[in-house]
């Protein structure tokens, strides 16, 4: 028998300007989730805690075949007080967007404070506070090309100097998109910028390493521990202790956060585990995450970090010769069971004879995880935090991040117009 009680209070406030219309955003939630695990899991959710919830959760644990890993008792208190984010920054950013190429602008700032309390049958007691602030800018041109920025900040306020450069870049990119042509389609070498490299490792490797997918046999990485799955230059971590957007001090099952090495020099070393997948696969838990106290934890990523290589962008272009250089992500998706992934870039450039030439848009990339991992030819020597991201799985969204360099792929399927 095992039980845990999660209590959470979340307060979100924000301000959004959409072409002159001002919207204030404000919501506050109080949630309590009580989980009781015997052979099955019973889970009760309410807005306020009531002692009878545990009894009810016990009554619901009628399932079979569930085991959870026992772990050390945790005592953690990390109270944090946060200064309120000045929301008028929205007006300042809005004023920056005055270029005539812009037909439609949306600027928003959203500040989410979360207070989490955790206790379980092992005697653990913990509480912590975390604040995530997001800046969102969306601009559209007359021709309805769209560019956007979503940037996240952990436990700190956003100031103009943190985003000014990105906002100005956004406008320049929109101009570029307006004259870009559609990407070609077919197999070709590709350079991924750090943001897209982040999406690739998140979608293609991270999801396939999640313990539930391994247990259910829906991951191509099942049975591949200790085997070479990637090019030798690839070393990949999941690290919730780093101050990226995917940070947590304690996972949602009361396990203290720690770094996991997923791939070391091309060899698969570990999976990401919840208490349940850890118990069944003899792994180490610590990646059981839930969207809120109203959701059951699942094995999830936190901050995905690729070890740096020794190349720079120029060397990659020269090595590639002819291909596509893709920039900035729109989003991605993977089906870990057969290893097929897809993600879309905001724009990119055709590369000819090692030189960046004309801009392209509407470019997406897809391929087979295991083949593409072996097709990684070069990795950049400087790494960047991608800055913000949310990942969806089985209806639950959690914050994640990536710290990534540039990456050169020998070959991938570029989807554009045939």
């Amino acid at each position: 028998m095992f039980f845990d009680i999660r209590k959470e209070k979340k307060e979100v406030r924000g301000l959004e300007i959409d072409e002159g219309d001002v919207n204030t955003i404000s919501y506050s939630t109080s949630l309590v989730g009580v989980r009781y695990v015997d052979e099955g899991v019973g889970f009760m959710v309410s807005n306020e805690f009531h002692p009878k919830m545990l009894e009810k959760a016990k009554r619901l644990s009628i399932g079979r075949g569930v085991r959870v890993k026992r772990w050390e008792k945790v005592e953690l208190k990390k109270p944090l007080k946060f200064e309120e984010q000045p929301l008028d920054l929205v007006d300042e950013v809005y004023e920056l967007l005055n270029d005539e190429v812009i037909k439609h602008r949306i600027v928003g700032i959203y500040e989410a404070k979360r207070h989490v309390e955790y206790e379980n049958s092992e005697g653990s007691e913990a509480s912590y506070d975390v604040k995530r602030t997001n800046v969102k800018v969306v601009i559209r041109s007359e021709g309805l090309d769209m560019n956007f920025l979503v940037k996240g900040f952990l436990n700190e306020n956003v100031r103009m100097k943190d985003i000014e450069k990105d906002v100005n870049k956004l406008v320049e990119e929109l101009k570029l998109m307006s004259r870009a042509r559609h990407a070609p389609a077919g197999r070709m070498p590709v350079i991924l910028d750090p943001e897209l490299a982040g999406v690739f490792f998140h979608e293609a490797v991270g999801h396939a390493c999640e313990g539930d997918a391994i247990l259910e046999g829906t991951s191509v990485l099942k049975g591949k521990l200790g085997r070479k799955i990637a090019s030798e230059i690839v070393t990949l971590y999941d690290d919730p202790t780093q101050k990226g957007f995917g940070y947590f001090p304690l996972d949602d099952e009361g396990i203290k956060a720690r770094r996991r090495t997923l791939i070391e020099k091309g060899v698969l070393k570990d999976y990401l585990h919840s208490r349940e997948s850890a118990a069944k696969l003899r792994g180490i838990p610590g990646n059981g995450r839930a969207e809120s106290a109203a959701h059951l934890p699942l094995p999830r990523m936190s901050n995905t970090i690729l070890e740096k290589g020794d190349s720079n962008l120029q060397e990659m272009l020269e090595e590639m010769k002819d291909g596509v250089y893709m920039k900035d992500s729109i989003g991605g998706v993977v089906e870990p069971s057969h290893g097929f992934f897809l993600f879309s870039a905001k724009y990119g450039f055709l590369v000819r004879k090692g030189e960046i030439t004309e801009p392209i848009k509407g470019v997406s990339l897809s391929g087979d995880i295991l083949k593409t991992l072996k097709d990684i030819v070069l990795i950049g020597k400087r790494r960047y935090w991608v800055g913000s991201g949310y990942c969806g799985k089985l209806g639950q969204t959690v914050p994640v991040d990536q710290k990534m360099p540039f990456v050169l792929l020998r070959e991938a399927v570029v989807g554009g117009r045939t």
Binding site: V22, S26, S28, L60, S61, I62, E335, L342, G362
Partner: protein, 378 residues
Amino acid sequence: MTFIFRKGKLREVEEKALKTVGIRLTKEGKSVFCSGTDEERCLKRTKRMLKYAKRTEFFGLPKPSKYEKVKLFDKRILGLTEKELLDLAESLITPWNTYASFSREIGEVEFENSNGVKGRYKVASLSGEVEVKHRNAISYESHITRKFEDFSWVGKKAYELCKLSLGKRRIRKGVYPVTLSPTASADLLSIISSHFHADLVQKGVSKAVGWEFSKNLTIYDDGLLPFGLNTAPFDGEGVPCKRTLLIKRGKVKGFLYDFTTARKERKESTGNFLHLRKRPNVSERNLIVKPRRKLEREGIYVKHLVGVHTANESNGDFSLNTENAFLIKGGKWIPLKNVMISGNVFELLKEVEVGDDLRQEDKIASPSLFFPRMNVIS
């Protein structure tokens, strides 16, 4: 109440009892929205946000109106016992099942404003989803309904589809005739549905304005559709829901309005205001593509689109993966490997055939759609 199965075995049972309250406060031409689980805290926060609101042209709030009696609540769903729910959930399980979930949701919606508008209605729904996997083939099926229905077909259909998807082959890239299943069609349409929202139109960024769609296409939004998934007597600001024609035989005929966007054009709201959690929005309720005729299935058939959120909602460009794609040749279904389709939703809807197999699993209800020419990459 939710039952979750993994590898065909019941693992988790969840019960949630949650409440959300949404408040709009208007004062001296300023309007703020707030929502939360606690009414008092919510009201306090709403007042605090007033300082950030800007004075805008204020059109007031809706006045009382008569609501139509709509069919949206099936008592049989409410009356199901735990045992009966579990039986329904177990009927989803077939061989090769990797994941299944089954839920019953019961809720009540109440509304009032300072003009004396008042209303309430009850909702109840059942939903089930399954994932079936064998060797390299995977398939999904899901169903959600506000009427008590049998669910055993959901698992069986996914199982049959998975069997049919074994032994996948590659196909050459090129331009093919493509049929999208009702759910894939609804997903494709969701990329551009916001172009029928009045706020986008008023900001000059709706591509639907003046666009000529195929003559085969008639689309309307029906907030009163009997047992529709988003059917209600009134919307989030107490305005009666109704039926609004958006496209008639290819010609754009209307857009969706809330109270404020409608008043800006001296029109009536179409009852399409939604206020849930974050910011309020104009939103479709049950967007319906009018069915036409049985389609001859030749060329490529796609059951599911994957990664719809990666499409460009602003101009309709997309490049998407598919799951369970087939080449149909002389009545034979040949499963295909790694099929990706691309194009622009607006351009594609200039030439489309509309099927007769209407289905609703979300805000959009569509039959199968046939596109004579679509880019296919493998």
